[in-house]
């Protein structure tokens, strides 16, 4: 299904300058390398619990978040390393969190599924499917309450769509005209359950119509198309205080988590191989070099930079001590200031 049935207006091609191309490619490559490394560290037993990689889906996080101001918010699921890094978190502190160390973003108390970074307005890592959609709605409510024009991007999987909280949130956001962009990362599977086995309406973006909400599908493997679509949605949120539902069609190249080997029972090897031909990083690199904005040497330099950053992140995480045992009891309640 490399040829998606994404209808709607053909993506406009915005001007691609060198600076932008460099930033988008760097961010996607950083996420890719970071997660490959995290996978290795998991195999070595340095990372525990559940580890969900977004390899193959980087264009959605990077394209979408590239349209935000720093004071805008993003919120996501347990498959959120990419969103967190794209929002600007320090890879060293993200890796330290995965390692469960004291210098992790959440002091080692959250882990891979619960990354939070207030310094970049990343509102977390939420591991109950569908539960952060109401939270995003409330954050947008607060923006409107304060008239401060800050927008929130809410990333979630296709698995959230059959949940009641998806529908409650869509309704409330549309009813109250809130500045939120709902971005469904449709990778066609919720664990082993394909869209067709979960949804009576598999064109997820069309749920927007039911709630009188602007909505469209977008090719989630094309970082510029994502940027274009989300860019419009962010403007709509900021200028008109109106929500949008965007269905970004993407694919995860790896298994659901590290406990699910890729190409397992619910999908074919052929399907996975076919999808890998639409690797968002390769697609964008090719496009940037064909457009003459990035040379091979530029890409090599970015690659080295990315590798260094990830190596540093691992070294930092390794060196960071475990959280002291007294921290078991801190941050349960906040003392009033």
């Amino acid at each position: 299904m490399a040829q998606r049935t994404a209808k709607g207006p053909a993506p406009r091609v915005p001007a691609l300058d060198e600076e932008l191309a460099r930033r988008l490619l760097f961010d996607m490559m950083l996420i890719r390398r970071f997660e490959e490394k995290a996978g290795e560290m998991y195999a070595l037993g340095k990372i525990g619990g559940f580890l969900h990689l977004s390899i193959g889906e980087e264009a959605v996080a990077v394209g979408a978040i590239s349209t935000l101001r720093p004071d805008d918010y993003a919120i996501s699921t347990y498959r959120e390393h990419g969103h967190c890094l794209a929002k600007g978190s320090d890879p060293r502190r993200v890796m330290a969190e995965l390692f469960g160390r004291r210098d992790g973003l959440s002091k080692g108390k959250g882990g891979s599924m619960h990354l939070f970074d207030k310094t970049v307005n990343f509102l977390g890592g939420h591991a109950i499917v569908g539960a952060h959609l109401p939270l995003a709605t409330g954050v947008a409510f607060a923006s409107k309450y304060r008239s401060d024009d800050r927008v929130i991007l809410c990333f979630f999987g296709d698995g959230s769509v059959p949940e009641g909280e998806f529908h409650e949130s869509m309704n409330l956001a549309a009813l109250w005209k809130l500045p939120v962009v709902f971005i469904c990362e449709n990778n066609r599977y919720a664990m082993g359950t394909s869209l067709e086995r979960a949804l009576a309406q598999t064109e997820i973006w069309k749920f927007g119509h039911a709630y009188h909400m602007a909505c469209e599908p977008v090719d989630g493997m094309d970082v510029l198309a994502v940027r274009d679509s989300i860019g419009k949605a962010v403007e709509r949120a900021r200028r008109e205080s109106a929500p949008t539902l965007v269905e970004a069609r993407t694919y995860r190249f790896r298994g659901h988590s590290m406990r699910d080997p890729a190409g397992a029972v619910y999908r074919t090897k052929e399907e996975v191989e076919r999808e890998k031909l639409r690797d968002p990083i390769v697609l964008f690199r090719t496009r940037a070099s064909e457009a003459g904005v990035l040379t091979d040497a530029d890409v090599k330099a970015l690659e080295k930079d990315v590798n260094d950053r990830v190596d540093e992140a691992v070294a930092f995480a390794e060196a960071s001590p475990e959280p002291p045992v007294e921290w078991l009891f801190t941050d349960i309640y906040k003392e009033n200031d």
């Binding site: 002091k107 108390k109 906040k334």
Partner: protein, 329 residues
Amino acid sequence: MPVITYREALNLALREEMQRDDRVFVIGEEVGLYEGAYKVTQGLLKEFGPRRIVDTPIAESGFTGAGIGAAMVGLRPVVEMMTFNFALLALDQIVNSAAKLHYMSGGQYHIPIVIRGPGGPAHQLAAQHSQSMETYFYHVPGLKVVRPSTPADAKGLLKSAIRDDNPVIFIESETLYAVKGEVPEDPDFTIPLGQAVVRREGTDVTVVAYMGMYYRAMEAAEELEKEGISVEIVDPRTLRPMDVDTIMASVRKTHRAVVVEAGAGFAGMGSEISAWIQEHAFDDLDAPVERVTGENAPMPYARNLERAKTPSKDKIIAAIRHVCYANGG
């Protein structure tokens, strides 16, 4: 000091806190135009407008989650549950989001939210609308749970709950809204969360009770006074964090304890308090701690069955006599 109803005391607390802090807003079903299913929010829409008194559709998980999201970025929502029975639809948001975001984020985000509404045995409302709801919440680290028995407590504790930086579950009672009592007018009057109160001094036995059971225990105490049994009544007011010091000080004085609760007894508040007393004051006790609890059955509709389900004054009296090794006990 003016005498007002429990309902008016809550209303006053909301008004004062909304006047004091623009970040405070009320959100829930029928809180605005309808003025509250139990009229607790009467007049607030008129005074504060629809920006701050927010009517919602019937979507408990959605609007509770929205409150939590708004709290994450600095607002101070008061979410009204039409009745706490419906909070079960938002239980995931309360337990997995509100209670844990501070911890999971390593202290970066905190959730100053109050979730309030009536929730307790009420007259002939049957199994789905008449039950003690605190049990579902006080087990959870990260939540504070308040059960205010009197009008003054309702006001003072709600104000503290709104000013608190943590999620507070504030469960009122249908059967107490019309109860009257003296309530301080001072807008700075608050009662700290986590402080129990000795409601009645006595020397022979400590009775721990709250909400409707507190009033029933008072009746029992008056009656036993005539027999020469002096009952001390402690109202915990906040169930989490629990003021064990006040309870323990009373038990150390009286050497006997009866814990009363309206809800089904199995793994209830009574179990927790009596376990605590036996663990920490065993040597002070002259008798085993006794529990008087609701029966382990859903709430029936029929009047006689309903009466049988909930602890009666007679059962409380019998338990007190029993721990005092008194006549008929």
